[in-house]
């Protein structure tokens, strides 16, 4: 698989993504700076985490105006696989490739710790490597990961199986319901209607090497590779 990883000023998970895709999963990796106008030839795009533009104005708000954004939108609209992780998820929401928005964590704090996620739908190009209902341990590290959207949008996401990952723990003194940041319905990751764009707050790339952080996140990237290799049609999503 040929994957393009985009670096914005302030991205800091781009190198982790490059390492995982190139050194662990043997993909061809192209790293493009946000000032480029084209992604180049690729099968998938990763919009990595970090603090693009220092999170000024709102997380992801200014990255929306980066020159590369036009080509990311074009690629996504043509059905190309796009995954936004953490700040990447915030950016994809700001540009409208994914619905909703991410606001300050319920606790107001920046939270950096391992969280437990449940795979809510394994019939997607991003999750075939997992069992449905499988519990994953993946680190999160953000201050604005509290997912909000209108009631109608939440209903649509839930009904059409587009809530892909949900926080399930761990329960702590300050997180009695296992929902670390207060996201509506404990949503940790969602997919667009066409099934080719995924956004998630936790960091699968930080759980992809057995030597650091375990390998629970690897399945996301492995699923993408399998889907590209099989050139399988996108998972059908009920309306």
């Amino acid at each position: 698989m040929k994957v393009t990883i985009v670096t914005f000023p302030g991205s800091n998970c781009d190198r982790d993504c490059i390492y995982v895709m190139r050194d662990i999963l043997s993909c061809d990796v192209n790293n493009v700076f946000h000032k480029e106008s084209t992604l180049g030839s690729c099968d998938a795009v990763i919009v990595p985490g970090g603090f693009s533009y220092g999170d000024y104005l709102r997380a992801g708000a200014l990255a929306k105006y980066s020159p590369i954004m036009g080509d990311i939108k074009r690629f996504a609209e043509q059905g190309g696989l796009v995954i936004g992780i953490c700040n990447g998820f915030q950016i994809l929401c700001e540009v409208g490739l994914l619905p909703g928005a991410l606001v300050r964590n319920r606790s107001v704090r920046f939270i950096s710790r391992n969280v437990q996620l449940r795979v809510e739908n394994n019939d997607t190009v991003f999750t075939t490597a997992y069992e449905e209902g499988q519990q994953l341990w993946i680190p999160m590290a953000h201050a604005e990961g509290n997912y909000v959207a209108g009631e109608k949008t939440i209903h649509e996401l839930e009904e059409s199986g587009r809530v892909i990952f949900r926080y399930t723990g761990p329960e702590r003194e300050d997180v009695l319901d296992g929902n670390p940041n207060g996201s509506i319905n404990a949503i940790a990751g969602i997919m667009n209607e066409q099934g080719n764009v995924l956004g998630m707050m936790p960091h699968p790339e930080r759980a992809s090497d057995i030597r650091v952080g375990g390998t629970d996140g690897l399945g996301v990237f492995q699923s993408m590779i399998v889907s590209i290799q099989q050139n399988s049609p996108l998972a059908t999503i009920s309306a």
Binding site: L57, R58, A61, K64, Y65, E94, G100, A101, V103, R104, N105, R106, S107, V108, N146, V148, A149, G150, G182
Partner: protein, 79 residues
């Protein structure tokens, strides 16, 4: 000319920062304070132009960039 744009969370959107400030005020005995919502004020300096034209432009910029219409509302004030 100058303008100010006020960006605030929509009613119902959790404002943990406002809530935290509110809690601290309460702890300091300010019982008469009923609620706090935190927003942003953005000062814009621009070429002199017709007020309506300026307002239309700032509304457009605010809608696309300054505020996220999903979670925030804005108000434009010309100085």
């Amino acid at each position: 000319m100058k303008a100010k744009v006020f960006v605030t969370y929509r009613d119902g959107v959790l404002d943990p920062q406002g809530q935290t400030i509110f809690e601290v005020l309460k702890q300091h005995g300010h019982d008469s304070v009923r609620n706090i919502r935190v927003g942003k004020m953005i000062e814009v300096e621009l070429d002199d132009m017709d007020a309506d034209q300026a307002k239309t432009m700032l509304n457009d910029i605010s809608d696309k960039m300054f505020a996220n219409p999903i979670t925030e509302t804005f108000r434009v004030e010309l100085a």
